[in-house]
Subunit: 364 residues, 4 copies
């Protein structure tokens, strides 16, 4: 096996608290093993635009508790389908992967560590399979919906932000006899809504995996009112949808044909509940607040472990693999396997059963 | 002057962190002076519906750090114009103040302490002026827009919640090169937006008092981009409005004729900025999260002082007055004077000047 | 198998954020299954003193986010060796277990759920083995040192408090060029120190399981100073001890013969470092602050799952067992097995390796 | 008046959350006015050692929410009495102010902005009076004991940390029937203890300005126990002292002749209370945790205003003055006047009266 002299690292997709902890651990661990590290700016975009810089200990000093990523990230940077303005202003997609590979070669990068979600990892795997590029993946998704790991860093931080919001809404809802609707992240997987609802004692939890019926939701709220509980808290994932209905996450003005879309699912649910039960309803849309801020200790530790083991995996030649947490141990999984299907909430999940046992309604 | 034997206390209007600290201080201070206290449920509604109960030390034990109000509150409880379903299902407004006065008399309440905003205090003052009811007001408004006091409790807590959100958005905005729009409370006064923007280093602050021009806002964001600042943070009060424009706070489905309304000002600004600058924009609507949770130490101390001085004012016969903070001292002001005009942000306010000096744009 | 009609629940030993979440989940789950619940005050003491009261849904409403335990707890309540003042004022230990059993019988408790650490569970197991009392254990230890579960609730909360302190010390240490010593909980197991040190980027971590040499610690601090790092952060478990040395946790005045004891290990380390390196050193003793406050979402969810599964285990007749987390699943283990040996930090633990890789010194 | 072209800024004495906000506001405001800024490292030490560097907008980008100070600080840097190792290793104090003045002249600093407490300001004033150096002071003291301003930045942050600790101790104290003693900062002024005690509902508050009698403290704790309150919380300033007694803050091993000193006042009080009342007592020493971390919004706003007005004062030629908050306005005061006497808690202070009214004992 070829000795590794230089590791390149990039962070792709939506940002996530803990990315800097991964970068720091990679740099420290590599440094100890006599391996140099270079950072690639803005995900794969940095490979395309040759935006690469050395990362040594001073560059990662003090970044452990910081949110965001010192490397920047990008959502639209697939080198195999790179979007560029073409003739007549129309966007065209081209394969610029050769350019990316040239940057890797020029910078003498022996192994590429890709920190990102399924989008980022599928690209990494394509480089690995088609071009034999040695890649090691580090899973990252705020929604916690990646297979190949029990948990991803960033999720605990987002959960803390969401639960803090549930706690705060509780006191004000109680004082006012209101229904409070809190929209949290999760377009396709409802883990944040489920966990924040369970942790915060939400009365209703709506997730994309369990389509809801608004009448069920209203019945539950009315039942509570009848038992003297003068308020109810609804935690709703942005991708939640009614039985037989559609997602309503888009919020552009040009969706004006469908006015509900502008306020999202939170507005829809709050309005329907108010109309059907007659109880005043208010909503909060947490949005990117959930992605920001200093990672929790849990996330910092997990991210540090991932960074350390990514370098270990690189040195062990585990290319095309993703590091991940299995129980209490860090293991690697082939990327292909990890990204095949997302990890989604199941109706029989232990946490769903527990939530139901403590009185939560899932609207189904 | 008649010796006071019993004080009644109610909390009216929107809830506010610190209400429980006021109640606790009133009960303790009265208790020490040999005065009994009764609590009236849900603001003036409790007077109308005879919902009154004794408050002694055990009832207020442990409530100091709690958000909300153990007495409940109500927004629609004006005894002089009480809304009730009349003939044919139509809502009719009647004067039921006699009923309220009867409750006061029956419960032998010598002084009524009314904790609330201008709505609550105007009613209190009407009781005082028309019916000689001895009232003492304690100012409460999350928006900090009441005259008669330099600061109201609850504001510092709301400011902390809003600033935490700004801080969190910073890291994620920076990682992604985005514009983040944060909508905070403030329909008629922009204090929360101004202070959270100043404290969080917001790049743009939009308040109701300073109508904005969206082109100015976009110019500022473009200027930042040109200087290499790849993100911008916009803090917008819910009541902010464009020059010559209208407020867009209503968010009911039946406002569907005007789809913007559903997402509020945050959606409007985010969409316009994205369309005009081409930079991806996202928004967060904090909503009632700002009203909830445990009050900050500042608010707990201020609220405790207000409670203490409300009883002192009652014993000194300062009826029809409001306690308030002036510099570092608690003083009383006639309610009438305090509620005459709201305290609003002025373009020449010191904090506006400081915000401008550190590079913030107000869109004007 | 006998049908269960009533469950008794007690919380024993040091308190722990999440206890109320367990109690709430037990009551809800039992209630749904038609089982009554009674709460026993102050651990086993309530059995001895007949302090038992019904727990229904209203009693557990709103307690999910609260620290402490609504049942109270006690450290000195072993019914098999109950300490009572005997003749001549001397404390005598008596077996009052018959009295405890009588309380259980009188209250028609079919199953006793014991929430507590090894002390509490050993007593539970003795009742189970000697008296055939149907018991189900729920593990609780802030130090996370119980076998039978991968993690205990309360630990994540304590870790958050400790890491917040490390973060805060960082900025002040850096401004001043100082050594900051932070003493955290952990008499026999160093998990809080290890995790808070790893999460906070501590430069030195001292745990009971890895005896330290002060010269090694000082060398590391001097090395950092030589590299321009003008400050260092030492996270020390209260039970940490020098190679060949003793614990210094006792802090009573009557330990005055050994003055170090009064300030504990934090004072000892801070003083030695200052004397040996000449760099100003300061210390913080976090103490019970780590046990207090609202549990983190992680702890609330884990505690809720434990409570739910304790009732499930009771209904399944799994007596003499402890519920616990294994990977992502809740499983039961015989109490005897779980309490046989504590779970302690090993020098080869993955987190120790990661901490070393990012530059942390363990003093050995 | 001479036109100002360059401002020098230094931060002296203990660090304080908000220092970076001052620096940022000074740089922005000066920059807008066409004035250059240079930063002096480590307080006056930077003047002595010629450690001066330009501060422009990029240097202050992102520092608003950071604790500590990007300029560093120093406690032992008085240029009029500078401590240096002399002949035979003995420390000698020399006047090196000429060297400091030379650095100012060489760097063409027109005005020196000194951010610091009384020590820092007295030195600044000596430069102003003896050497006609144009100085503008910005008050900074975590203890809030400076005259010339109603409040200093950093205090609100320290108060938040201390109150959070009181809140956390509450739940654990209640579960265990214990006395918890929390030592907070304040050697000569008890503002943090007073405010944290008031905000957290402390049962006993001990401050340096009101010498206590331990019997009074124990009587209060026993009274509470008799009323069924099974726990008590004591908030004690590090400089609190018994009637006729001494401070016990020093904690060096070589104070071993007086073992109490090692654990400080917290250990002393906890031990005495336990011995006299028989109730288990525990203590926490918060230490520098109070100085660290991100400043609260209140402190960031106040610090920004101070920075802005320091530049305004410089441009207005208000040399030898200190900016400060008076009510809601920023005013300047001659430094000499401001540092003449410290601002200390008085027995008749409104907050002391309020604390007493809600049942707090001051031990006197």
């Amino acid at each position: 096996m070829k000795k590794i002299r230089k590791i390149g690292i990039l962070t792709g997709g939506g940002d996530c608290p803990g990315l800097n902890a991964v970068i720091r651990a990679v740099v420290h661990t590599a440094c100890r093993a006599g391996i140099a590290v270079v950072g690639i700016r803005d995900g794969y975009a940095g490979l395309i635009h040759k935006d690469v810089r050395p990362l040594a200990l001073p560059e990662v000093s003090g970044i452990l508790p910081l949110g965001g990523t010192i490397l920047g990230t990008s959502n639209r940077d697939n080198p195999f389908q790179y979007a560029e303005p073409g003739a007549g202003g129309k966007v065209e997609h081209r394969d610029v992967s050769a350019q990316a590979l040239k940057t890797i070669e020029y910078n003498e990068i022996d192994v590429l560590v890709t920190v990102g979600g399924d989008g980022t990892q599928i690209i990494a795997n394509t480089f690995f399979e088609k071009h034999k590029l040695p890649v090691v993946g580090v899973p990252k998704t705020i929604d916690n919906d990646l297979n190949g790991t029990d948990v991803t860093f960033g999720f605990d931080t987002a959960l803390n932000v969401a639960t803090t919001a549930v706690d705060k809404l509780h006191s004000t809802a109680e004082a006012h006899h209101r229904v409070m609707v809190l929209e949290v992240m999760g377009r396709y997987a409802g883990w944040i809504a489920l966990d924040a609802g369970l942790a915060g004692g939400g009365d209703v939890i709506l997730v994309p995996e369990i389509p809801y019926r608004i009448e069920k939701v209203c019945d539950h709220i009315r039942d509570r009112a009848a038992r003297g509980k003068r308020f109810s808290l609804v935690v709703v994932a942005e991708g939640a949808k009614p039985e037989g209905g559609q997602m309503v996450v888009a919020r552009k003005v040009n969706d004006a044909s469908d006015p509900i879309r502008l306020g999202g699912i939170a507005a829809l649910v709050a309005n329907q509940v108010e109309d059907l039960t007659g109880i005043e309803s208010r909503y909060t849309i947490l949005g990117h607040v959930q992605r920001g801020g200093s990672p929790t200790p849990y996330d910092r530790i997990l991210a540090s472990r991932f960074g350390y083991h990514a370098v270990e995996a690189a040195m062990a030649g585990k290319f095309g693999h993703l590091v991940g947490l299995r129980g209490n141990e860090i293991r690697t999984t082939p990327i292909q396997e990890a990204v095949a299907v997302p990890r989604r909430v199941k109706a029989g999940d232990d946490k769903v059963l527990v939530a139901k046992a403590v009185g939560t309604c899932f609207g189904s």
